[in-house]
C-alpha cells in the first residue's frame, strides 16, 4: 500500500485536496476535527496519511511514507537529493526565502554590500553580524557560494522579523510571500537576496520500500495525475 502524506490542516491541506480532486482523486478527512485520518477515492492501492507539513520531510527521509506533499523550502533545507525525488510542482503555496536588512541601511542594497557591512560591523562591535533564520542550511549554502564572511546564523523558529527590532539580530533570512510583514518590521529585501523560491511539491521517497504492488499502483496514480512516475 502506498502511503501518501498530506498536510493535515489549513490552507495547504485544502489546496492539496483541490489539486488531487481536479485530477479525479478525491481525499477526505474522516472522523472528528482532531483525529488525523483520511480516505481516498478514485485510485487503488493508496492510503492518505494526514501529517503536519513540517513532519513530512522527516517521514519521507525515514521511508515511513512513499509520497508526500510539502513545501520545497522544508525539503531542500532538511533532505539530500538522494532521499527524495520531485514528482510534480503543485502551483500553490508560493513563498520566497529572502535576506532582509533594516530599511535604514541605505548603504546595503546587494549581498556584496551585506558582506562589506559585515566586515565593518565586526570591527565596530566585536562580534559577527547576526542573521536570524530557521533555514540554516539553505542560508549558509547561499552565503558560502557567494563568499560572504563575518556573519553568524542565529536560530529563530518564529517571529523572526521581530529579532532586529529586539536587538538580537542585525538581519534576517525568512520566508515571505508579499513582503508585508517585513515592511511592517522596518526591513527591506536585498535586491539579489532571493535564496529559494518555494512552492508546494509532491515528493516521492527514494528510501521507502516500494513493493511490486506499490510500483503498479504508483504507475496508475501517475497516469491519473498526469505526472511522470518516480519509481
Amino acid at each position: 500500500m502506498i502511503r501518501l502524506g498530506v498536510p493535515s490542516k489549513g490552507r495547504l491541506m485544502q489546496d492539496t485536496f483541490d489539486w488531487f480532486r481536479a485530477r479525479g482523486v478525491v481525499m477526505k478527512r474522516t472522523g472528528s476535527d482532531r483525529e488525523y485520518s483520511g480516505v481516498i477515492e478514485g485510485v487503488e492501492g493508496v492510503v492518505p496519511v494526514l501529517l503536519s507539513a513540517g513532519e513530512i520531510p522527516r517521514d519521507l527521509a525515514a521511508g515511513r511514507i512513499h509520497l508526500g506533499v510539502t513545501g520545497s523550502d522544508l525539503v531542500r533545507e532538511q533532505l539530500g537529493e538522494d532521499e527524495v525525488a520531485e514528482v510534480a510542482k503543485l502551483g500553490f503555496g508560493h513563498a520566497d526565502l529572502v535576506i532582509a536588512v533594516p530599511a535604514v541601511w541605505i548603504d546595503v542594497e546587494t549581498v556584496d554590500d551585506l558582506d562589506a557591512a559585515a566586515a565593518g560591523f565586526r570591527k565596530a562591535h566585536g562580534h559577527r553580524l547576526r542573521i536570524a533564520t530557521k533555514y540554516h542550511r539553505l542560508v549558509r549554502d547561499f552565503l558560502q557560494s557567494q563568499g560572504v564572511a563575518d556573519y553568524q546564523l542565529l536560530d529563530s523558529q518564529g517571529a523572526t522579523e521581530g529579532t532586529v527590532k529586539n536587538g538580537t539580530a542585525e538581519a534576517i533570512a525568512d520566508i515571505t510571500s508579499s513582503g508585508e510583514t517585513l515592511r511592517a518590521n522596518h526591513l527591506r529585501i536585498l535586491s539579489d537576496g532571493l535564496i529559494h523560491s518555494s512552492e508546494a511539491v509532491l515528493w516521492a521517497s527514494r528510501v521507502a520500500d516500494w513493493s511490486a504492488g506499490d510500483r503498479a499502483a504508483m504507475a496508475q496514480l501517475a497516469r491519473q495525475l498526469g505526472v511522470g512516475s518516480p519509481v
Binding site: V104, D112, A116, G147, N185, S191
Partner: protein
C-alpha cells in the same frame, strides 16, 4: 578496508619519527569550544564540523583540526622555539554519498621558530617527504604570501586592498572583487542605483526618510560606509598592466625554479612582491640543501587558497590519485597573532593521514 589497528600502528610510527626529529608529543581535547573556531573560520565551518552542546560550556565542536588547540597551548605556555607532534582523531562532516571518512586519525608536526622561517619550511617539507617516501605521491607547493604581497602593493585605495586581502582564501569572491576593481566587470545595477541615491541626498537625510530606525548598527556606521561607497566609485580602476600581473600571478603554475625566474622577471613591475620573492628564493635554497629537486618540484601560486584554511605563506600537499590529500601543511604566522592575543611567532607545520598511508602500503 584498512584495519584500524594497522592505521593506529602507522600513526604511532609517524609520531615516533616526529619525536625523533625533535618534537615534544602533545595531547589536546577532542571537545573544542565552538566560539573560537567559528570566529576564526566563520559560519562555513558548521557545514564541516560536528557541533554539540555542553550544559556548562555551551556549544562545542568535535576537534576538526589540531592546529588551533596546539597553537593556543603554545601561545599560552610554550617554549620558544618549540616543536610539537600529535596523533589523534579529527572529525569532518562529509558530503552525502562522497564515501569519505568523517572520522580519521591525523598525525602532525608543528614548528614555532623565529630564527629562520625558510629553513623551518624546508625542514617540515623534507621530513614529510622522507616519511612518505616510496608511496609514489605527487608533492605540490605554493606560497600565498606572494599573492598577499602583490595585493598590498597595488596602486589603489587601502579599502580595496583590505577587501581583497579579507577574501584571499575565497577565490570566487576575490576574483569578483578584483574584476570590479580592475574595471573588467560592470558595476552591478543595484550598486549604480544606490550610488545615484547617495549622491542625490545626504546619507543622514536618506536614513531619516527610510523610516523607523531598527537594529544596533548605528547611523554613524551607515553614514561612514555610504561615504566610503561614494569615494570608492570615484577611485580609478586598478591600472590594466598591474591588474594583468595579478591575474597572471593567480594562475601561475610551474616547476618551482622556473616559477622563481618568472617572479623575478615581474618584480620590477610589481616591486612590492620583492621581499616575498626573496623569501621564496631562500626557501628554494633551503629545500635544495635538503636534497629537494626544485627544478621539478610543482609550484602553484594559488595552491592552498580554500576556505577553512589559515595559511599565509608556504603551503604544500602530498597527493595521490583518487584520494584526499595524504599530507598537507603550511605556514600560518598570522594565526599565532590572532590566537596569541597580540603575541606572535612564525609557525609552520603539517599533518599526515595515517589511514591513507596504510591503505597505500596495502596493509591488511
Amino acid at each position: 578496508m584498512t584495519p584500524k589497528a594497522a592505521i593506529r600502528a602507522e600513526g604511532e610510527r609517524l609520531l615516533q619519527a616526529f619525536v625523533a626529529a625533535g618534537a615534544v608529543p602533545v595531547e589536546t581535547d577532542i571537545l573544542q569550544p565552538a566560539g573560537t573556531l567559528l570566529d576564526l573560520y566563520g559560519e562555513d565551518i558548521r557545514a564541516r564540523a560536528y557541533v554539540t552542546d555542553d550544559p556548562l560550556k555551551g556549544e562545542m565542536m568535535l576537534r576538526p583540526d589540531f592546529t588551533v588547540p596546539v597553537v593556543q597551548a603554545h601561545m599560552a605556555h610554550g617554549a620558544d622555539p618549540a616543536r610539537y607532534a600529535y596523533l589523534g582523531e579529527v572529525f569532518r562532516k562529509q558530503l552525502r554519498g562522497s564515501g569519505r571518512a568523517s572520522e580519521y586519525l591525523q598525525v602532525g608536526y608543528e614548528v614555532f621558530d623565529r630564527a629562520s622561517p625558510e629553513a623551518a619550511d624546508a625542514e617540515v617539507f623534507a621530513l614529510f617527504r622522507d616519511l612518505l617516501a616510496g608511496l609514489n605521491l605527487r608533492p605540490v607547493t605554493g606560497d600565498i604570501g606572494i599573492l598577499m604581497a602583490a595585493v598590498r602593493g597595488l596602486d589603489t585605495s587601502d579599502r580595496r586592498k583590505a577587501a581583497l586581502l579579507r577574501h584571499a582564501w575565497r577565490p570566487t569572491r576575490f576574483k569578483a572583487l578584483l574584476d570590479r576593481f580592475a574595471g573588467r566587470a560592470p558595476v552591478p545595477q543595484g550598486r549604480l542605483a544606490l550610488l545615484d541615491r547617495l549622491k542625490a541626498g545626504s546619507p543622514a537625510q536618506l536614513i531619516e526618510e527610510a523610516g523607523v530606525f531598527v537594529g544596533i548598527r548605528s547611523p554613524d556606521e551607515i553614514i561612514a560606509r555610504a561615504e566610503a561607497l561614494v569615494a570608492d566609485a570615484e577611485t580609478p580602476p586598478i591600472k590594466a598592466p598591474e591588474a594583468a600581473l595579478l591575474y597572471d600571478l593567480l594562475s601561475l603554475e610551474a616547476p618551482a625554479a622556473h616559477a622563481l625566474t618568472h617572479l623575478r622577471g615581474i618584480t620590477p613591475m610589481l616591486p612590492a612582491i620583492a621581499p616575498a620573492v626573496d623569501r621564496f628564493a631562500r626557501r628554494l635554497e633551503a629545500l635544495a640543501a635538503k636534497g629537494v629537486d626544485v627544478a621539478t618540484l610543482a609550484f602553484e601560486a594559488s595552491h592552498g587558497r580554500t576556505a577553512l584554511e589559515y595559511y599565509d605563506g608556504f603551503v604544500f600537499s602530498f597527493l595521490a590519485d583518487g584520494l584526499p590529500p595524504v599530507a598537507s601543511g603550511g605556514r600560518y604566522d598570522a594565526l599565532t597573532a590572532v590566537l596569541g592575543d597580540g603575541a606572535f611567532i612564525p609557525a609552520v607545520g603539517g599533518v599526515i593521514r595515517p589511514g591513507l598511508v596504510a591503505r597505500l602500503k596495502g596493509a591488511t
